[in-house]
């Protein structure tokens, strides 16, 4: 509870703001109008604030960073992407990135809120009170947020390439940022995501080396595979072997894979081999 409202209520408010950003942005594009950066930034910031309060309230209930079920993971990923947008988008003023961020955040938050089964079981103190494991987990999830934003800039890059190659430059294509700007920001996001995930994996490895039985092999394999795939993509990009449209498509495909991996990773924690977590009765 925060200010008399449940965590889910705050998260519904956040989803409402993101949805408003999506709808207003779509309306502007359909009318062929340039979007107001200030308006979309204010809407996203309000959504972000509500989500922050919602996640904080949930964190207090579960006694740590709320990453205990699929609902919380989706919410945290959306929150991470929005955090990054509020830094990157406002700094680099990339046209339409705010709109795409609100679309992604709206989808992730609304889908997670609309499926009650994802939030039926709330596990408390999943990190056993160890702040380093909590940091490892939140860094890993935050890197997914970075990759989510990277997927958005990659999508914009694909659309920009398409519009220039096919010579469709009018309408809402005209609002897309220049190719080089999108490419630069995508590379920076990829570097940031890989660095954060690497730091998270190093932390996880130290913990795993001390107690190998505590980490499920499915989770380990999935996470390392995603990290490796992003690291390879970054290496190829920096060496000039993965460029332009192919680079953008790779980033999109990798984010799809990363999202799909969340399910098995989360499910692996329910494995009977693991000690039974504390349960919190859902409200």
């Amino acid at each position: 509870m925060f200010a008399g409202l449940t965590d889910r209520t705050w998260l519904w408010f956040a989803a409402g703001f993101y949805l408003a950003g999506l709808l207003l942005g779509t309306l502007s594009l359909l009318r062929g109008q340039r979007q107001s950066n200030t308006r979309i930034n204010v809407i996203i910031a309000l959504g972000y604030l509500c989500q922050l309060i919602g996640l904080y309230a949930r964190g207090r209930v579960v006694g740590g960073c709320p990453l205990g079920n699929t609902f919380e993971i989706f919410q945290f990923t959306a929150w991470s992407a929005t955090t990054l947008y509020l830094v990157v988008g406002v700094t680099f003023r990339l046209s339409l990135l705010g709109y795409f961020t609100s679309c992604l955040a709206a989808v992730l938050t609304l889908v997670s809120l609309a499926i009650p089964a994802w939030d039926l079981t709330r596990r408390a103190k999943i990190f056993g009170g160890n702040p380093w494991i909590e940091l490892h987990a939140s860094l890993a999830l935050f890197s997914y947020g970075v990759f989510a934003l990277l997927a958005l800039t990659a999508l914009m890059l694909v659309l920009r390439h398409y519009s220039l190659k096919k010579k469709h430059l009018s309408g809402w294509f005209s609002f897309l940022p220049p190719i080089m700007d999108l490419d630069h920001i995508s590379v920076r996001l990829l570097v940031t995501g890989v660095v954060m995930m690497t730091a998270s994996l190093i932390g996880g490895t130290i913990y795993w080396a001390r107690d190998p039985a505590s980490v499920n092999s499915t989770k380990l394999l999935m996470t390392v595979a995603i990290w490796l795939a992003y690291a390879i993509a970054l290496t190829l990009r920096l060496k000039g072997h993965l460029l332009a449209k192919r680079f953008a498509w790779t980033c999109l495909a990798l984010f799809g894979a990363a999202l799909l991996s969340l399910g098995p990773v989360d499910a692996s924690r329910h494995s009977p081999a693991l000690p039974a977590p504390d349960h919190v009765v859902p409200r």
């Binding site: 190659k165 010579k167 430059l169 220049p178 460029l243 449209k245």
Partner: protein, 351 residues
């Protein structure tokens, strides 16, 4: 009638052919001489002369209804134009219509190239010149200031200036779409003809990084490079040095291909992370069409650019009604404000 006290008199591209506009156009000396004459004109209290390649227009405030006719006579005499001939093509508006016309001119919607912004600067310069010489007064000062505000409002709140409508500027816009900031882009101009020069100038006006000119006649390339403060390159080196450039403007009159697909492929392989933008303004085409299939290479020919320019022009025309409505509203409000002042002026004159 108070409307007689505010007038615009002149000729512009709507009704006056280019050959006649050439005869009506005032040189700087002729404009100064005429302005000196107008200051002595009976009944004319304030005036501004707008003299561009597409229009010669006098905006005046007169206490005497015959003042506009005297302005016309002075102008025709100065330019040695038959007044009867002038009356056939002249623009002659009074009162609120004249105010509305000025607002539309300043906003660029009365221009030959709808939505162009150069006219705004020209109107500002004309007003500044008149003001500095003491030719304007309270009425024209207010009308011109309001015209500038209205023009800015229309430009901000409509799409009248969006999208370029000339081939050269469309090419520069496309380069911006690819590279963003053009200050670090390197431009290669192949061919030293008129269209290539115009495009090169358009790039320079948008602060493009550097410009190199190559022409089949090296001395011609040197000449143009000097004029554009650029560097020249022997034409034969174009393939070997293609990778050094981000934008290649091809505008030669060569009968065959000047940039082959293989040359473009070799260039992009040397700098894979930076796109290569090929602008083919030549007829017959200079760039082998297959170059467009290469990854990170963007090829636009004359037809492509003309199509974009035409789409932009159509989009601007679609905004015209909206702009006119916005300006008419402001012109009416402005006229209501200045009309009592004009009535007072007239009363003083008669008194």
């Amino acid at each position: 009638m108070n409307s007689e006290a505010f007038f615009v008199l002149g000729a512009n591209h709507h009704k006056t052919p280019l050959a006649v506009r050439e005869r009506l156009s005032l040189s700087a000396d002729a404009a100064a001489t005429l302005a000196a004459q107008l200051t002595q004109l009976q009944g004319l209290r304030e005036f501004t002369l707008l003299n561009t390649c597409n229009r010669v227009e006098f905006y005046g405030v007169a206490a005497d209804p015959l003042a506009a006719q005297r302005v016309q006579a002075a102008f025709c005499s100065q330019q040695q134009v038959d007044p009867a001939e002038f009356e056939q093509i002249r623009l002659n508006l009074r009162g609120a219509d004249a105010v509305r016309h000025l607002l539309e001119v300043a906003a660029g919607i009365d221009s030959q190239m709808i939505g162009e912004t150069e006219i705004f600067g020209q109107v500002k310069d004309a007003y500044a010149a008149a003001q500095s010489r003491g030719h304007t007064g309270p009425v024209l000062n207010r009308v011109f200031q309001k015209a500038f505000q209205a023009a800015k409002h229309v430009r901000t709140h409509t799409a009248i200036t969006e999208g370029q409508v000339s081939i050269a500027n469309v090419a520069v816009d496309l380069a911006h779409t690819i590279f963003g900031d053009l200050s670090s882009t390197r431009i290669l101009l192949l061919g030293a003809g008129d269209i290539g020069e115009k495009t090169a100038k358009a790039f320079q006006s948008r602060q493009a990084g550097s410009l190199t000119v190559a022409s089949r006649r090296f001395e011609r390339a040197m000449e143009l490079a000097t004029a554009l403060h650029a560097s020249a390159m022997p034409f034969e080196q174009r393939d070997a040095r293609l990778s050094e450039y981000d934008v290649v403007v091809c505008a030669t009159s060569a009968p065959g291909v000047v940039v082959t697909r293989d040359a473009a492929k070799a260039a992009i392989q040397k700098r894979p992370a930076r796109p290569l933008f090929l602008i083919d303004l030549a007829l017959p085409r200079d760039v082998e069409a297959g170059a467009a299939d290469l990854q990170n290479v963007f090829l636009y020919n004359l037809d492509d650019l003309a199509k974009i320019a035409e789409e932009n022009r159509a989009a601007r025309e679609a905004e015209l009604a909206k702009c006119r409505a916005m300006l008419a509203e402001r012109a009416d409000a402005l006229w209501k404000h200045i009309e009592p002042r004009l009535a007072e002026l007239k009363a003083n004159h008669l008194g």
